[in-house]
Subunit: 192 residues, 2 copies
DNA sequence: CTGTACATGTAAGTAGTTACATGATTGG
DNA sequence: CCAATCATGTAACTACTTACATGTACAG
């Protein structure tokens, strides 16, 4: 039973959506299309392949639901094991350096599956990567040879503009996420 | 010999780098790492697989170069057929809607392989996609249910911030690219 | 004498894709 | 009556990855 330690992004993403409630493969495909399509959207057939795998690994359970008028469906529910695997992923901020953008956004979107501190840590790690990238881009800009074609220059400016805007967003997002960790006592206080 | 009409992004990317001059597989991997790594960077082994394919399709030619002290190498050169395939790709702005960001940036970077009008058309198409996306995001923002978790909200704000910054960049980049089409006569004029 | 750069490739595996198959129900 | 929605899946394929294999030369 040696559980193969790591799952793929798609597997985690499905697990994350499952954490929002019991659903069928079809539901998941629709939910993905409507919410996180910009960061992740596998084909339906891929979802149907992944779900039984999650069950085999004990991360989810399935149950048949009979329906009148429409085909029967299998609905899936995340297990405690599944939840803890998801939480571990959401808490892991030592992300593979490249394409971190999409992955971060996906984790942020699914952050409901872990304690609110996790989202903040992801944000800080993301900021770190952005700042490193900013320094790389600024260095590139400084060292651009005089004969560099404009295309390289404008492409670099694109990168710089995006990184800077994203860093500004981080400053905006942080207090909002902090509020979820230590909710501001404003009038009445709400627990948990 | 029915030439399979379309190439993969990786194949076009390699063709694009090849347009910059004769190079070996090893050279290409290094060049990619140093320039376009943020938008595209396949493994070396993939490059070594693609190159003979390009030769088989008549898009490139190869020639052996003996070296003293180091292993012999094969250097590849783009053919006229290859150039026109590349140009066609660089001119095609009806891009598959999603993940257009990376692809656009790649084309922009390799835009030297086509007449300067192509880059401008790509930019306009990109702007169109960004504006459509902006409208979608703004619509999403307007229709956010009151119980939407903050994570969805801040993720959306991320998208909005990036799209807006990128649109601002477009306005900045356009005149620069326009100048390459109709070079401003400032002092001496340079042809071609 | 160890690690890095140069240089090319194979083998095995994976994560994903598109296209196909099936079939009932509902809305225009 | 036609198209879309609901619902699940298989088959065939593809692009790409990691790990491995091999070997020289040079710098520290």
């Amino acid at each position: 039973m040696e559980s193969s330690n790591r799952l793929t992004t798609t597997e985690y993403a499905i697990l994350g959506l499952l954490a929002g409630g019991e659903s069928s493969g079809y539901d998941l495909a629709r939910a993905a299309d409507r919410s996180i399509a910009y960061m992740w959207s596998p084909s339906r057939s891929q979802i149907y392949k992944v779900l039984p795998r999650l069950v085999a690994w004990g991360l989810a359970t399935s149950r048949e639901v009979e329906q009148r008028g429409r085909p029967d469906k299998a609905v899936y529910r995340i297990t405690p094991t599944g939840r803890s695997a998801l939480r571990a992923w959401l808490e892991d901020d030592a992300e593979d350096p490249e394409r971190g953008g999409d992955l971060f956004l996906l984790k942020l979107f699914l952050a409901g599956g872990a304690p609110p501190e996790a989202a903040l840590r992801q944000l800080e790690a993301y900021r770190g990567r952005l700042e490193r990238r900013l320094r790389v881009f600024e260095e590139m800009e400084r060292e651009l040879p005089d004969d560099e074609p404009i295309y390289g220059r404008v492409a670099l400016a694109h990168g710089l503009a995006q990184v800077r805007a994203t860093l500004a967003w981080v400053e905006d997002a942080r207090p909002q996420l902090e509020r979820t960790v230590r909710p501001r006592s404003r009038g009445r206080t709400r627990r948990s």
